[in-house]
């Protein structure tokens, strides 16, 4: 990076691209200082969200390894964070998803059809996805039933649903996954329908 671009980045970083939300401000400060205390605050604010996303998409052991890898990547690439281009949480989940898919591919637990073939038959496609967490969950409990249904969703639907529940907008989800917003809408619709229908079938309408 040249001096000129550094100067330009400095000005843009202090101008219209200044982070608005608290986590992005923290990340901006962490980018500049590398303070472990700031990183701890970021982990405290967003760590549970990230871990749950990874856990829901993979399994416990995998999620733990990924979780640490993501934060180490945040440390390594903190200078690449541009508050004007994405909020911190969006950037964090994008890093996490990329690492997750890379690792799934490396372990040959990922197929390119996983994202595309998940729309039609969630029950049968559940086997294609990563090993679900807590496969022995008892079904006599609403929460356990919800867990089982969520983990039974196809990877892409589950991903879209979790990201939506984490507060990401359609655009954010599209940015994180690299998938168009209309496709995201479709996945969300399938995911909600499946969850609601299955929950109502066993526990009645809320």
């Amino acid at each position: 990076m040249t001096l000129l671009s550094n100067v330009q980045g400095w000005f843009t970083g202090r101008g219209d691209a200044a982070p608005a939300d608290p986590d992005s401000q923290l990340m901006w400060r962490y980018r500049q200082s590398g303070s472990a205390d700031l990183l701890a605050r970021l982990m405290r604010n967003t760590g549970d969200d990230l871990y749950h996303f990874l856990l829901t998409q993979t399994d416990a052991a995998f999620a733990e390894d990924l979780y640490q890898s993501v934060w180490l990547r945040v440390m390594e690439r903190r200078h690449q964070y541009e508050p004007g281009s994405a909020k911190f949480k969006t950037w964090l989940f994008t890093l996490g998803r990329h690492l997750m898919i890379d690792e799934l591919r490396r372990q040959k637990r990922w197929q390119s059809t996983d994202l595309d073939s998940a729309e039609t038959d969630p029950a049968s496609l559940a086997e294609l996805h990563t090993q679900p967490l807590e496969s022995t969950i008892a079904q006599d409990n609403l929460h356990q039933h919800f867990d089982r249904l969520l983990l039974g969703l196809p990877f892409a639907q589950r991903e879209a649903f979790v990201l939506q529940q984490e507060g990401f907008s359609l655009k954010d989800i599209s940015d994180i996954t690299g998938i168009g917003q209309e496709t995201i809408k479709s996945r969300l619709r399938f995911a909600r329908q499946t969850l609601q229908q299955q929950l109502e079938a066993h526990h009645g309408p809320a």
């Binding site: 990183l39 701890a40 982990m43 749950h52 907008s169 929950l199 309408p205």
Partner: protein, 226 residues
Amino acid sequence: MAPHDDRSAPHDDDLSSLYRQRKQRHPAPERLNEAVLATAKAEKDRHGRGYGWKGALSSVAAAVVILVLGMNWLQDPVLSLSEDVSLVSEMADTEATESAQSFLSELATGEAPPEPARSAPAPAPKAETRRMEPAESEPSGSDAPVMMADRALPFESVQSEAVALKPRFLKAIAGENSVFEQCDGRLFEYTIPTAPSKGWFEVEWSESGGIGSVVSRGAESPCDSQ
């Protein structure tokens, strides 16, 4: 972060509630956070210690250099500064270095410096060089008149030259009692009170370089007998 707006399904709130409760049951293990933070602190310390060590070393080195230069300058400002100039520009020629020394001396003392001692002998002034050279350009044995103004030299210089040359035979020139003609036709300036008023004479030089004795040799040139 604004949640997605497309949430009109009747049971979305229930799903969200179930989701939040599920998330609360699965927080990130604290040991993972601690491991990451330990790595972050170690990384930060490593960088901080590395930069600190380098910075401290640079500062100490700079301080030592400044201290040594300062002590040298206090001991002998002119010499130290001159040495500094020599260190800075080893390739500079002698004239440039001497100019720098003079300049620095003026700066240090506020007055013009004395002429620096030279290891090599100073080149003679041009006038002196011309006077000491054999007059090859002048016609040998010429009787052409010599313009004395061309040879108007300080007496002391003439005397030392005479002592150095010590011509044996000289010929008196009419009207001149301190200018004589040598065998090769060149003029020789030296006050010889006992010199004859005309004709050739032979000079015997004393050990001290002065005139020992003068013997008249007549009008005939004795130069061939040399």
